[in-house]
């Protein structure tokens, strides 16, 4: 369509003199928007009071029904990233960002109709499926572009964008609360109009990313930078096609690396508020626990930038070694800080904060690890497929935590002690991740793309 030709890859080629420092804000505009998904829980209670306005009527939706909207969105995120990654490499970041913005906004609009007609399936289709597709497209859209603009600091570049996904919830949560309060009337809880406004605001904000992003011209390099003459064997100068990468042991080892790291992190995130209250019964109440959750999200976001930047100097493999070795020890030790043992809240909070920084760091460093292994050519597509590890962990983490805890409680453990077993299993999972990382070797020559295609 001629009207949309500005989205073509050729139209987004950077002119000489274009500053690469405009690309991270473009990527952040996308990630800060789609990161709203992690703040969806602020709608949970209002969505159960649509008919009762302030109280739940029997005909109102139940929280368990609402919970599926977010779960669906995250599963679709992984699937759409895996499915559309290869298309994105050809279509370019601008078209992918635009498609992401359209899907994400459309998800809100369809959900608005669902609220208006009290049709839950419209929220599943809207926010869950259509919005989730936007999440997946948006998440991977700037990755390979950033890596191409920052060959000297790929970890820093992708870390900045993926930090945005962590920060998105911090914007989305207070924004939604303020909008719902503004639109609330005695007959309307204000969720529907909030969906409409948020869809529009995010669409406009994402358009800034769409119009600002540029792809570097063939052969472009940062001024004054030359690739190191002798590079580490763990950083390839060649490229691997996405389907070929999918068949390598390196892809699946990194899949395990991401999956174990995320599963362990979710073990804390999922239970953060009840965990601190039950480990320190009597000294930490629900309000302080809410503060703890906020603190964790700050470290989750900061860790994304910090660890991915550090990995540019230390190397990706050593960075993940730190994550797995240190985190396994800390998970093992964490229950000892509880009231039954050391009774040290500050130590508990400090350890949990470090753990969450490494959880975020694991997310943000993986694109650069993929680039080191498989080159830049199909890195977004490969990253997209790797994100199925996230979807898997999103199911595995909560299931492991909840079922193990229930099992221990049924067998007579008290609430505080029941965390010990769960956290020790998480430590064990991290040992699996450590071994997977240990086994990562450079990709065999037979998988490389011929130089002319690369």
């Amino acid at each position: 369509m001629a009207l949309l030709s500005f989205l073509d890859r050729e139209k987004s080629l950077a002119q000489p003199g274009f500053s690469r420092w405009l690309v991270p804000p473009a990527a952040l505009a996308i990630h800060l928007s789609i990161g709203q998904a992690y703040a969806f829980s602020v709608f949970k209670i209002p969505l159960t009071q649509l008919l009762g306005v302030g109280k739940s009527l029997p005909e109102d939706w139940k929280q368990t029904q609402i919970a599926w909207i977010f779960s669906l969105a995250i599963v679709i995120l992984g699937l759409s990233a895996a499915t559309f990654g290869k298309w994105l490499e050809g279509a370019g970041p601008r078209k992918a960002m635009f498609a992401s913005a359209v899907c994400f906004a459309l998800g809100f609009y369809i959900s608005y109709l669902g609220v208006l007609g009290h049709q839950l399936w419209l929220l599943y289709v809207g926010y869950g499926v259509v919005g989730g597709t936007g999440l997946g497209l948006g998440y991977i859209s700037p990755v390979s572009t950033l890596i191409k603009w920052f060959p000297d600091r790929p970890g820093l570049a992708t870390g900045m964008a993926i930090m945005g996904f962590g920060g998105g919830a911090m914007i989305g949560s207070p924004l939604a609360i303020k909008l719902m309060a503004y639109f609330r009337t005695p007959t309307d809880i204000g969720v529907g109009k909030t969906f409409l406004v948020m869809g529009t605001l995010y669409f406009v904000f994402m358009m800034f990313g769409v119009f600002t992003v540029r792809v570097p011209r063939e052969g472009w390099q940062p001024e004054g930078w030359t690739p190191a003459a002798k590079q580490s064997a763990m950083i390839t100068s060649r490229n691997v096609e996405v389907n070929a990468a999918f068949a390598t042991p390196q892809f699946w080892l990194l899949w395990v690396v991401l999956c174990t790291n995320v599963t362990a992190g979710i073990g804390i995130i999922e239970q953060a508020s009840p965990m601190i209250q039950e480990l320190f019964k009597g000294s930490i109440g629900p309000i302080a626990a809410g503060g703890f959750v906020g603190l964790l999200s700050l470290f989750n976001m900061g860790g994304r930038f910090f660890w991915s930047s550090v990995s540019d100097y230390m190397g990706r493999k050593p960075t993940y070694f730190i994550f797995f070795a240190l985190a396994a020890l800390l998970y093992f030790f964490l229950p000892q800080t509880g009231a039954n043992h050391l009774n040290n809240v500050k130590l508990f909070v400090a350890i949990a904060a470090v753990l969450l920084s490494m959880y975020g760091g694991g997310f943000a460093t993986i694109p650069a690890y993929l680039r080191d292994m498989f080159g830049t050519h199909h890195v977004s597509a490969i990253h997209g497929r790797l994100l199925t590890a996230w979807s898997t962990a999103g199911v595995l983490g909560p299931v492991l935590v909840n079922y193990m805890r229930e099992y221990q409680l049924r067998h007579g453990a008290d609430k505080a002690s029941a965390y010990q077993g769960v956290l020790h299993v998480m430590a064990g999972l991290l040992v699996v991740g450590f071994i997977a990382n240990l086994l990562v070797r450079p990709v065999a020559e037979k998988h490389w793309l011929a130089e002319r295609n690369a």
Partner: protein, 51 residues
């Protein structure tokens, strides 16, 4: 067009960073305010030795 005439201006770069930095800063500020509640917890009870 020459390279210098197409050079991205510092003002444009600053504007771009402010556009994403301000909402992020607002979000971080709100989260910091919320996390302060953790440190307002009754400290005496939290540091008592286990019995």
């Amino acid at each position: 067009m020459s390279e210098s005439s197409n050079k991205s201006s510092a003002a444009l770069i600053l504007f771009a960073w402010l556009l994403v930095g301000l909402p992020l800063g607002w979000g971080v500020y709100n989260t910091l305010l919320s996390s302060m509640k953790l440190f307002q917890a009754p400290a005496a009870a939290a540091t008592l030795p286990a019995k």
